[in-house]
């Protein structure tokens, strides 16, 4: 995966500053992921080619970052055991454990019209 091509290096408005961010590692579903300290978790996962962050509970479709600004709740993942964290809003730090939501339809969804 050409991680370098999937990460912004500079931006006229946003403070990307990627050359000054310390490389760190986080763990996503047991996989070691290279990230840059302080970037958003969604950006770190994206840079590693991880676009599907969860499987939607209603339709089962793969979902990932959509609005990128904490508005749509599509990018929810579990971080260090806490569920429903919007990955576009949380910054990565060394050793962060991320669990991408599994499809878990449960009893209820059989009855959704």
């Amino acid at each position: 995966m050409m991680a370098d091509t999937l990460r912004l290096k500079s931006h006229p408005v946003l403070d990307i500053n990627s050359h000054n961010r310390r490389p760190i590692t986080i763990i996503a579903d047991g996989r070691t992921i290279k990230a840059l300290e302080g970037e958003s978790l969604a950006a770190a996962l994206w840079a590693n080619g991880i676009f599907s962050l969860r499987y939607d509970e209603v339709t089962g479709s793969a979902r990932g970052m959509f609005c990128g600004i904490g508005h749509c709740y599509e990018c929810r993942v579990t971080v260090d055991g806490v569920e429903d964290i919007r990955s576009c809003l949380v910054r990565v730090r060394e050793g962060m454990h991320v669990s991408l939501k599994r499809p878990d339809l449960g009893k209820g969804d059989d009855h959704d019209s």
């Binding site: 339709t59 479709s61 979902r63 508005h71 749509c72 709740y73």
Partner: protein
Amino acid sequence: MNEIRNSAQPDNDLVICRCEGVTLGQIRTCIHELGARSVNQVKKLTRAGMGPCQGRTCAGLVEMILAAESQTSVGIEPYKSRPPVRGMLIGVLAASADQFDEPAGPVSVAMLRPQASDYPNAPIMSEEIDERYQTK
């Protein structure tokens, strides 16, 4: 989003509410067959707007669809936002309970009382009572 208004054959499978998977077709059915005329009615009948984002993504779209499908752009009651602004963990809410003096407790109803033979006194009444509700 003029596409919705101008498109000759909009796709009924287009997902409008991402959280709840509600499609354009389902919303159209709601409008044309169930008589929905407000975003809230569409919400209650399809679940559009009931997911974690509480209508942030879809409410505006539903409003536009209502306008397009019912050929009107005025008088469409918008999505009713309700607190909390964002999801609040029950544990966090619970931890704040001691800050509140009122209410003292829930309305007293039979289900909460252990004794079936308890016959209730008047339940807790709401404070503001419109004049029309006073016995004449």
